[in-house]
Each structure stands twice: as structure tokens, then as C-alpha cells.
């Protein structure tokens, strides 16, 4: 098993190294063969690991330490890997979707410069993501955590001669690093409280506590860890980097900024479930932040005209759902949605990439329309994904989203307001997704003439991954059919060994939903919301396109606020970025450093010189004046003795 895990991790690293060092001299074919081949190998070994792990319901997680990484005093972080059923799911999601996106990139990046650079970064990302999900301690997880952040930075800024791209990369790295500081301090707090940051030691120690023990330390640690998740998974108030991250090539948006990296925060919270259930206040913060973010981002998505940016806000919103699921202590629902979302959101982005390819890089939905006929495969796959994310019954998103909605009401820490806000958000989601679908693919073509004749369906290199993901977007939900629909909640039961203990703790302490409701009623509520959303979108964007324009003029203030994303970026610039730069330059550097501190130094030097200047006059070299000084001194001394 330990070999198998290494075999899964190492091919992407080797691929990255090969392409990174020698890629310039390789042909495109060889570069993509190395890139896709290593991703494929990783997927194969991930599947083999899943098949041969034989993790029974009671078997402990597999842990293996490869070497000691950092050790000082009693602090010790080994390079150790951790494999349980949660890891199993994550490695499969990461490698399989990662592989498909690698395959897609062969076509997408064909005519772009820096082909080898792209595959090098993509491989490195895959390696780091695998480290993140297989890590057996917070420091090693942090390796992956920052590693994927680095890959995200270089890939967002892939077209680095463009200022907006390099700005976006920098912003992503810095904003997520705010969260990372929280992660670091959280790990420090855990170490000094429990004496370890390694999961196999830390989790049992915390699990042995009763609910309410070590409350302060655990709440603080969990909130700090969650701060890390907020940064990485783009939640309020640190979500601002993700929409800008769309500057990166589209496969990157699909892989990193939709399917895998941004879900790392959700994974981390789920992985730390033992800690979080011991800190219910922290958990409530998680669900509240997730829920509010889900709603907030969905409202912004309503008015976006850039296809990828709309999808970006949608991702933020869906990540909010996952946190809401984890926050009400039904962690499996969050992971379930993570998995299905990875399928359909990757598909949406890749399809958007296909549209972008056809439209010569254009992403403004206002000049699209009617692309359905020219891009049939793209259209149909995009439709499947749209249906899935909107929660239409029978597709993956329906099952997972419904799982979260039910949990939001009936979960141990559930609350009605969470459910209602998420349900409204589900309606908004259906609306903006169909708005996007209609504006892009349906109705009359608004494509400018000079672009029109370029529009063509993408090559099979790109469409085949689309079709495979479309299948996933349908079937992925069937692993978790709810009891209401006669299912057995297989997914939840599969993850029972990981989350069961935490849920048992809450149940044993009588932490249950205050006002449980029937799952069927809840489901009907969410279906209604989704249905309404789709209907309104149809009415607004296909039947009577004049209505949204009328609304936009009638409520121009609200509309402008939404189009400008609540002016949050402007606000942050005004509140933090600008004062920090100007304050540092004018006050700290030019005033304090040069003026005060160095001024004092130079001042004392000048004072010394001045004193020297004065004293120099005594040393005149004139014998008569020396005699006068001697006389003066003698008189003074005598006077002192006499008058004493």
C-alpha cells in the first residue's frame, strides 16, 4: 500500500520535473504524452489503491511514514501519508478529473505558447493536490496546501505579459495566504494543546475528550483552520481572488478553480471533523459563513455577462453549500457535493472553454447566442451540467444538493434559516445557470460578423472529455440516493468510518436539530425553487428579453451594485491596499525610517562633529592661550576649594 501511494504521487512530480527542465527541447507530442501519461498513471494507481485497500467499516486508516521531515524538541512532522475512505474518494476525484482535464488541455493549449510550461505546472499541481489529500499531518497538508496555491499562482498568471493576469495571480496568492497564516497559527495552537499535529496521534486524543472539554483551545484552533479554508475555498470575506483567477487558461479554471483546489478547504474541515465537532461554535460559524457566501455569490452571478466569471461566482456559491453541509455536522453531505460538483463544474468550465475556443477567446455572453447549432456537443454537455447544478431530479447535483438542504434543516446543528437561505440560493442558481445557457446557446445569434465564420465545434481531443464528464454528471449522484426516494444513502454509509464518531458524539450529547421536518417536504421546497428559477430564466431570456432590460433600468441602483459585485474590490482597495501602500511609503519609510530613526543617527553623528568643532578651538596651538587656560583652570580650582 505504501508503495502504491508513492506510485500515485510520484508520476506527476516526475512529469513536472521532466517537462519543466527539458520541456523546451521536447516536441508538443512528447510534452503532452509525459503530462497526460503521468496524470493517467496517477489515476491508475489511485484506482488500484482504492481497489486493494480493503478498508472495512472498522479498519483503521492506513498510515505510513516515509521519513522525518521537521523535528525539534517534541515537535515532529513526518512525511507521512494517510489513507482512509475519505482519502480514497478525494484521490479518485482528483486523479480522474485531473486526467480528463489533462487530456482536454492537449487540444485547448495546442496553439498557445509555453505548452511545456503549462503541462509542467499542471502536473505539479496534481502532485501537490495529492499530497494535500493524502497528508497525515497538518504540516504535510500545508505542503500541498501552499503547493497548490503556488501552482494556482503561476497558472493564473500563465499569460503573464498581460497585466491583468499577473495581477490576478498575485492577488490569489496573497489573499489565500491570509488564510494560510490562520492555518499555521491553528496548527501551532493544536501542537501546544495536544502535543501533536499528526492525525494518527491528534485525532484520537481529541476524540477521547468529552464535548465541552478544551473548549476554548479547540474553538480557537478550529476557527483558525477555518480561516485557512475561507481563503483557499474562496468564502466571505476572502473570496475576491477567485473571480479574477479566471484570467488563467480555461482548463486551469476547471481543474484548480472549480473541481479540486478550491475544495481543499472543505476537505480540510471534513478531515478535521473530530476537532470541529468538539467546537460547535466554530462549526456554526462554518455553516453560517458557507450559507451566506452561497447566497451572496449567487446574487452576483445573476448579472454577470462574462461566462467564466459567472461560473466563478457559481463555484463560490456551491462551495458555500459544501461548507454549510459540513457546518451542520453532516460532513458526508459536503463531501458528496464536493464530488458531484467536481464533475459538473469541471464540465461547465471545459464547455465554456470550448465556446471560448470557437469564439476566438470571446467570453461576453451578450455577443453570443444561438451557438447551439454550431457547437452541438458543447451545447448538450453544457446542458447536462446546467441541469445537474440546478438540481433537476435524476442528475448528480440533485442528490447531493438535496442532501445538504435536508441536512441544513435536520442535521445536528441545522437551523431553518440555513435551509431557507440555501433554498432561495438554489432558485437563484437555477436562474443564472439557465440564463447563461440561454444567452450563450439559444435564441438568435448576436455573434459579430467577423467572428461568426470562425465558430466551429472543437476537436475530439476536447469533446471526448466533455462527454465523459457529462456521463459522470448524471451517474455520480446515484451513489447517494436518499432514503426518501427509496435509496440507502450508500455514500453516507461509506464514509461512516470517517465521520461516524463525530456524529455519535453529537448524538450522545443530545445535539440534534431543533425543529426536524420531513425530508420529502424539504425536497419539494428545493424543487419548487429550482423550477421557478428555470421558468423565470426561460421567460426573461427566451420569451421576453425586454423584461430583464426593463428591470435593469427600473432598478438601476440595485443592478449596478450587482454588476459591480457590491463594490467589494473597490472597498478592499480603499480600506486596506491603498492605506497600506501609501502609509508604508509616506509614513513608515519616508517619515519614520529616513526621518526619525536615521535622522536620529545622522543627528547624533552631526552633534558629535559639532561638539568636536567647538572643542577644536581649545586646541589652538597657541602657547599663550594654553597658558591662559591653565591659569583659568588654576583660578577656578582654587576658587572651588576656597568657597567649598
Amino acid at each position: 500500500m505504501e508503495t502504491l501511494l508513492l506510485l500515485m504521487l510520484l508520476p506527476p512530480l516526475a512529469g513536472a520535473a521532466l517537462n519543466g527542465i527539458f520541456g523546451r527541447r521536447f516536441s508538443q507530442g512528447l510534452v503532452s504524452a509525459i503530462g497526460c501519461g503521468s496524470a493517467g498513471l496517477a489515476a491508475v494507481f489511485a484506482i488500484l489503491a482504492a481497489l486493494t485497500s480493503h478498508l472495512g467499516p472498522d479498519s483503521p486508516p492506513f498510515v505510513h511514514s516515509y521519513f522525518t521531515w521537521i523535528e525539534a524538541g517534541s515537535f515532529r512532522a513526518d512525511f507521512a501519508l494517510y489513507y482512509d475512505r475519505l482519502t480514497l474518494i478525494m484521490t479518485l476525484v482528483v486523479t480522474v478529473i485531473g486526467f480528463l482535464i489533462h487530456m482536454y488541455s492537449r487540444g485547448y493549449m495546442e496553439h498557445e505558447g509555453g505548452y511545456y510550461r503549462f503541462f509542467c505546472y499542471l502536473n505539479l499541481f496534481l502532485f501537490m493536490m495529492l499530497v494535500l489529500v493524502t497528508a497525515a499531518s497538518y504540516p504535510v497538508m500545508f505542503v500541498g496546501w501552499e503547493g497548490v496555491g503556488l501552482c494556482s499562482y503561476v497558472l493564473i498568471g500563465f499569460y503573464f505579459p498581460k497585466k491583468s493576469a499577473s495581477d490576478a495571480g498575485k492577488k490569489a496568492f496573497i489573499v489565500t495566504r491570509i488564510g494560510d497564516a490562520g492555518f499555521t497559527v491553528g496548527a501551532a495552537l493544536l501542537f501546544w494543546t495536544f502535543g501533536s499535529v499528526n492525525f494518527p496521534e491528534l485525532f484520537p486524543r481529541v476524540a477521547a475528550l468529552g464535548l465541552g472539554d478544551q473548549q476554548r483551545a479547540l474553538t480557537a484552533a478550529c476557527l483558525l483552520l477555518f480561516l485557512g479554508a475561507v481563503g483557499k475555498s474562496a468564502q466571505l470575506p476572502l473570496y475576491v481572488w477567485l473571480p479574477d483567477a479566471m484570467e488563467g487558461p480555461t482548463p486551469v479554471s476547471a481543474l484548480i478553480h472549480a473541481a479540486t483546489m478550491v475544495t481543499a478547504g472543505v476537505y480540510m474541515v471534513a478531515r478535521s471533523n473530530v476537532l470541529f465537532v468538539h467546537a460547535p461554535e466554530a462549526l456554526k460559524t462554518v455553516s453560517a459563513v458557507g450559507c451566506i457566501t452561497a447566497f451572496f455569490a449567487a446574487t452576483i452571478a445573476l448579472c454577470q455577462n462574462d461566462l467564466k466569471r459567472m461560473l466563478a461566482y457559481s463555484t463560490i456559491s456551491q462551495l458555500g453549500y459544501m461548507f454549510a453541509g459540513c457546518g451542520v455536522a453532516v460532513f458526508s453531505s459536503g463531501i458528496f457535493h464536493l464530488m458531484t460538483h467536481a464533475c459538473f463544474k469541471a464540465l461547465l468550465f471545459l464547455a465554456a472553454g470550448s465556446v471560448m475556443h470557437a469564439m476566438s477567446g470571446e467570453l461576453d455572453m451578450r455577443i453570443m447566442g444561438g451557438l447551439r447549432r454550431k457547437l452541438p456537443i458543447t451545447f448538450w454537455t453544457f446542458l447536462v451540467a446546467t441541469l445537474a447544478i440546478s438540481g433537476v431530479p435524476g442528475l448528480a447535483g440533485f442528490f447531493s444538493k438535496d442532501d445538504i438542504l435536508a441536512a441544513a434543516y435536520n442535521g445536528p446543528l441545522g437551523a431553518p434559516w440555513l435551509y431557507w437561505l440555501l433554498t432561495v440560493t438554489a432558485g437563484l442558481t437555477a436562474f443564472y445557470m439557465f440564463r447563461g445557457l440561454f444567452m450563450t446557446f439559444c435564441g438568435k445569434s448576436r455573434v459579430p460578423h467577423d467572428l461568426e465564420h470562425h465558430v466551429h465545434e472543437s476537436s475530439s481531443k476536447m469533446t471526448v472529455p466533455l462527454m465523459i464528464l457529462a456521463v459522470f454528471s448524471v451517474v455520480a449522484g446515484y451513489v447517494g440516493i436518499p432514503k426518501v426516494l427509496g435509496g440507502s444513502e450508500a455514500f453516507d454509509r461509506f464514509l461512516e468510518p470517517v465521520f461516524g464518531g463525530s456524529q455519535g458524539l453529537l448524538a450522545a450529547n443530545g445535539v440534534v436539530a431543533q425543529h426536524p421536518a420531513s425530508d420529502l417536504v424539504l425536497m419539494i421546497g428545493s424543487l419548487t425553487a429550482a423550477g421557478l428559477g428555470i421558468l423565470i430564466a426561460y421567460w426573461f431570456y427566451l420569451r421576453s428579453p425586454e423584461i430583464p432590460e426593463g428591470l435593469a433600468t427600473a432598478f438601476s441602483g440595485a443592478y449596478r451594485t450587482l454588476v459591480n459585485k457590491y463594490y467589494v474590490d473597490e472597498f478592499y482597495n480603499w480600506l486596506i491596499v491603498h492605506p497600506l501602500v501609501v502609509g508604508s511609503r509616506k509614513f513608515l519609510w519616508q517619515f519614520v525610517d529616513v526621518g526619525v530613526v536615521d535622522g536620529a543617527v545622522n543627528g547624533s553623528a552631526e552633534a558629535t562633529a559639532d561638539v568636536g568643532q567647538v572643542l577644536r578651538r581649545i586646541q589652538s596651538g597657541n602657547i599663550r592661550s594654553y597658558a591662559a587656560w591653565v591659569l583659568l583652570g588654576a583660578v577656578g580650582w582654587l576658587g572651588y576649594l576656597l568657597l567649598r
Binding site: W69, I70, E71, F75, L150, S166, K170, G195, L580
Partner: protein, 531 residues
């Protein structure tokens, strides 16, 4: 007597031998001068590496000791010896000096001969500081090393080089003068200049110091060291000296000279004056954290690349001081590790800024832009070093910073947390700088013409990057080297002996006192305390 029993003398004076040989070479043949300098610096590096193999990680006390009477009255000895702390810094010096010779290969064209004489003499001075166990000998090396540095800045520097050189000398001299008073006072009281003897006398109580005396002595030493570090607010010599110095000067300055300050704190301030150290640890931690955040913010707005890197040193060394005054294993080992990291990473940054200067004769950030397209290989190296400097895991910087934050968090929750904020700021100033220099369009046509790395530069940078990656992935050999030395300092400075190994770990944090977890006593078995 075999050479091996004089290995420290060899390591110290081998560079000086090289300098002497260069002095006899004809000045026209600068190629041969460089070659001799390179050979002798590499030989010295080999000798320092040999020290590692002969060094015992478990033995207490000093190793490779040499002790001869030098001056009989007062009793001054030629006493040398190293422990884990000095070993690491000596190897760092040995590693950086050949790089300095290589990086000056084409940049220094005037007075090449004198340049290399001074460079090698400087190495002798620096290694001498790290190996001296006699306070007087230490002081001699400490002062001697200033002279070559003064000339390196004053002759081969740029811009206001004389101003910078004089400022550097005067600033340091102020501190040295105080330290000399401290040394003489200790001699008056103990009758010895010998560091181990004085330490023994202080430890066993045969040399009692009053509270005031100890505090005064502590500050006499500390101010000298704090100026070298430099600790806020004694840092203003550094931006000038760094900016105006030639590349090799900046590399040595950042790489090892600053470490002499933190080395001095660990070697002298803490063990000799433990009570005063404890008393003022809080104050010094505050200054360290101010240095971290202040240094980062001021660095962020520098228009000059070299000045930016110089101010970043203030921030990085703030981490080191914070770690030292955390008084626990994690903080102190992290601090020592961070000293090496800073030497390698910031040294590399200075080298690369120097390479850019050689190509464009400017260091202003606004004159660059878009270099990623014109010199991709150089840009990649620069990126890796930048990432190491901002503490990316798997590169060296992270290991030190992480341990320091853990240690500092335990000692003082607030300052540890603020230090973590400093890590964010490091990303801000470094990535912003990287963006303005390497990303974006090429705005200045001159930047299109510049050549990418040549073979010499590639080797130089590959060596540095290899060290950066190795130290990030496998810090064990370095960390284990320092265990014994760190434990010794900690037993001196912490009143209860258990704290050195932290075997009863979670005693201190407020949270841990609320409800003891069920298995706290087993902790030592899972941690590394079993060593």
C-alpha cells in the same frame, strides 16, 4: 601534531593564505587572481565540510578545541572550538564565499587583486568570529573583519559608497565599544578572557553578578549584536551598506555578517546573562515583531531592488530574534535554521540582483518589466529563490519560519500570531516586486537585448537552488547538529531543567490548563523527546 588537530586554525587562516598568495601575483593577470581566490575559497569550503564529518552530534561541550597561551599578561589565549551552532554558520560561510568569487567574475574589473585579497581576508575574519572561544580573540576577529568590509563597500561600491562605508563602520564601532567595556569588566571580575571559564564561573555561582550589573552587561553585549542583526530601530546602516556594496559584499553582509549578531546573542547574551535575558525577552520579542512587520512594509515600497532585499533582511532577522527569545527548542532551532536560510536565500537574491545590475546598470524596479519573456531561465531561478524567501513549504525558508512561529506562539501568543501575519506581508512585497520586474510586457527596449544566464551563472544558481530544495525537504541533518548546543543554552536560560527537552510539554499554554486531556503523559513517546 597532525593537521587535523588544527583544523579550525586551517579553516580560519586558509583564506588568508590565499590572500597572501594573491598579493604576490601580478596585478595585470586578473584571471589568475580570480582562479587562486576561487581555489582557496573552495578549499576552505572543503575544510568546513570536513568539520561536519568529524563532528559528534551527541558530545557536549566544544569540539576540535585548540588552546594556546597567546599573551601571558593579561592571560589571553588562542582558544578555538566549535559546537553545533558555530559549525552550521562556518559551513554557511564556506559555502557562500566561493559563490561570491564566482558572482564577481565579470562584474569586478577594477583593482581585481585587492578586491579578492579583501574578500578572502573577510572570510578569515568571519570564520574567526565563529570559532573563537576567548573573548579577546573573538573581539579581535570581530573588529578585524570590519576593515575588509569597509574597503569592499568604499572602493567597489556604487553611489554614495563612502557615506555607506563610514556609516557601517561607525555604527558597528559604537556597539563594539560597549561590548569591549563589557568584556573588560568580565575580565576584571573573573580574571579570565576565556569564554568556557567565565561561563563556568557564572554558572556555579563563583562569579556572582548583581541584578544591575547583569542587566548592564547584557545590554553592553546585546546592543553590539543588535546593531549587527540589525534589530529595529538600529537597522538604518543596513539599507545603505547593502545597497551601495558590490554584489559579493552584499552577499557576505547578508549571508554571514548579520548572523554574527544573532550568533553573539546565542553564544554570549543568553548563556552569560540568563536572568537579564529572561527579563528583557519580552521587550526584544516586541522589537523583533516590529522588525518583521515594519521591515516588510518598508521593503514593499522601495523603488530600488537592492534596497528592497535589504529591508527584507530586517524582517527575516526579526524572525530569528523572535525565535531566540522564545526560549524553547522549536523557536531556537527554527531561529538557527532561519539564519542559514536567510544566508542562502537572501544571498542568492543579492547575487541575482547583481546579475541584473551587471546587465542593465540599474537597480530601479521601474526600469525593468517583462523579463520573464526575455530571460526565462534567470526568471525561473529568481522565482524559486523568491518562493524560498517567502517561506513556501518544501523550500528552506518554511522550516525555519514555521518552527519559529510554533516556538514564539508558545512563549507569547500575540507575538507569535503577529509573526504569522509577517509571513503574509513577505508574499506581498516579494510577489509585487517579482511582478514588476519579470511579468507584464517589456516596456523598455533595453530589456529585450539582455542575455539570459551564462554557464557560470547557471552553475552558481543551480548549486544555490539545490541547497534551497534540500534544506526544505530534509532539514534533519542540520537540525540534529544543533540539538546539544540548543539544549545547553536552554538549560542556562530556563530556570527549570525540564524545559530544555520539553518532555512535559503542554504545561504552559492557558488553554491546556482548563481540562487536562486524558493522555497527556504519553506525549513524550510520540514526540521527538526520546532522542
Amino acid at each position: 601534531m597532525p593537521l587535523s588537530s588544527h583544523i579550525l586554525t586551517v579553516a580560519t587562516f586558509l583564506p588568508l593564505v590565499g590572500a597572501a598568495i594573491i598579493a604576490f601575483l601580478p596585478r595585470e593577470n586578473s584571471g589568475r587572481v580570480r582562479m587562486v581566490a576561487l581555489i582557496f575559497s573552495l578549499l576552505t569550503f572543503l575544510v568546513t565540510l570536513a568539520l561536519i564529518f568529524g563532528f559528534s552530534r551527541t558530545a557536549g561541550g566544544f569540539q576540535f578545541e585548540e588552546n594556546y597561551a597567546w599573551i601571558t599578561s593579561p592571560p589571553i589565549h588562542y582558544h578555538m572550538g566549535i559546537d553545533g551552532l558555530s559549525l552550521i554558520l562556518i559551513v554557511l560561510t564556506g559555502f557562500l564565499t566561493p559563490l561570491c568569487v564566482l558572482v564577481s567574475w565579470t562584474g569586478i574589473t577594477e583593482r581585481t587583486k585587492e578586491f579578492h585579497i579583501f574578500l578572502l581576508a573577510l572570510e578569515t575574519g568571519v570564520i574567526g568570529v565563529f570559532v573563537s572561544l576567548d573573548l579577546f580573540l573573538f573581539f579581535v576577529f570581530w573588529e578585524v573583519m570590519l576593515i575588509p568590509m569597509y574597503f569592499l563597500i568604499g572602493i567597489w561600491g556604487h553611489g554614495r559608497k563612502v557615506y555607506a562605508a563610514v556609516k557601517f563602520i561607525l555604527y558597528t564601532m559604537v556597539g563594539s565599544a560597549l561590548m569591549l567595556v563589557g568584556i573588560i569588566f568580565l575580565y576584571e571580575r573573573s580574571g579570565s578572557f576565556d569564554y568556557p571559564q567565565i561561563l563556568a564561573q557564572l554558572s556555579d555561582g563563583s562569579l556572582p553578578l548583581t541584578h544591575t550589573t547583569e542587566s548592564l552587561l547584557f545590554w553592553a553585549f546585546l546592543i553590539a549584536f543588535a546593531i549587527k542583526v540589525p534589530l529595529f530601530p538600529l537597522h538604518t546602516w543596513l539599507p545603505d551598506a547593502h545597497t551601495e556594496a558590490p554584489t559579493a559584499g552584499s552577499v557576505i553582509l547578508a549571508g554571514v555578517l548579520l548572523k554574527m549578531g544573532t550568533y553573539g546573542m546565542l553564544r554570549f547574551c543568553l548563556p552569560l546573562f540568563p536572568n537579564a535575558s529572561r527579563e528583557f525577552a519580552g521587550l526584544l520579542s516586541v522589537l523583533a515583531v516590529i522588525g518583521i512587520i515594519y521591515g516588510a512594509l518598508v521593503s514593499m515600497v522601495q523603488p530600488d531592488l537592492k534596497r528592497l532585499v535589504a529591508y527584507s533582511s530586517v524582517a527575516h532577522l526579526g524572525f530569528v530574534v523572535l525565535g531566540i527569545f522564545a526560549f524553547n527548542v522549536q523557536g531556537m532551532e527554527g531561529a538557527i535554521y532561519q539564519m542559514v536560510n536567510h544566508g542562502v536565500s537572501t544571498g542568492a537574491l543579492f547575487m541575482m540582483v547583481g546579475m541584473l545590475y551587471d546587465r542593465r546598470h540599474t537597480r530601479l524596479i521601474k526600469d525593468f518589466g517583462g523579463l520573464g519573456t526575455t530571460i526565462p531561465v534567470f526568471s525561473t531561478f529568481f522565482m524559486i529563490v523568491t518562493l524560498s524567501s517567502l517561506g513556501l513549504p518544501m523550500l528552506n525558508g518554511f522550516v525555519g519560519e514555521f518552527l519559529i512561529i510554533i516556538g514564539a506562539f508558545h512563549a507569547r501568543v500575540l507575538w507569535g500570531t503577529l509573526a504569522a501575519v509577517g509571513v503574509i506581508l513577505a508574499a506581498v512585497y516579494l510577489l509585487w516586486m517579482y511582478q514588476r520586474v519579470f511579468l507584464g510586457e517589456v516596456t523598455d527596449e533595453k530589456n529585450r537585448e539582455i542575455p539570459d544566464c551564462n554557464r557560470r551563472e547557471k552553475w552558481l544558481l543551480t548549486a544555490t537552488v539545490a541547497v534551497i530544495i534540500f534544506m526544505g525537504i530534509y532539514p534533519q541533518p542540520f537540525l540534529r547538529q544543533m540539538d546539544v548546543s540548543v539544549a545547553r543554552v536552554l538549560t542556562r536560560v530556563n530556570p527549570e531543567p525540564v524545559a530544555a527537552h520539553n518532555s512535559k510539554l503542554p504545561a504552559a499554554p492557558a488553554q491546556a490548563q482548563m481540562a487536562p486531556p486524558p493522555r497527556p503523559r504519553n506525549r513524550a513517546t510520540t514526540g521527538g523527546a526520546s532522542r
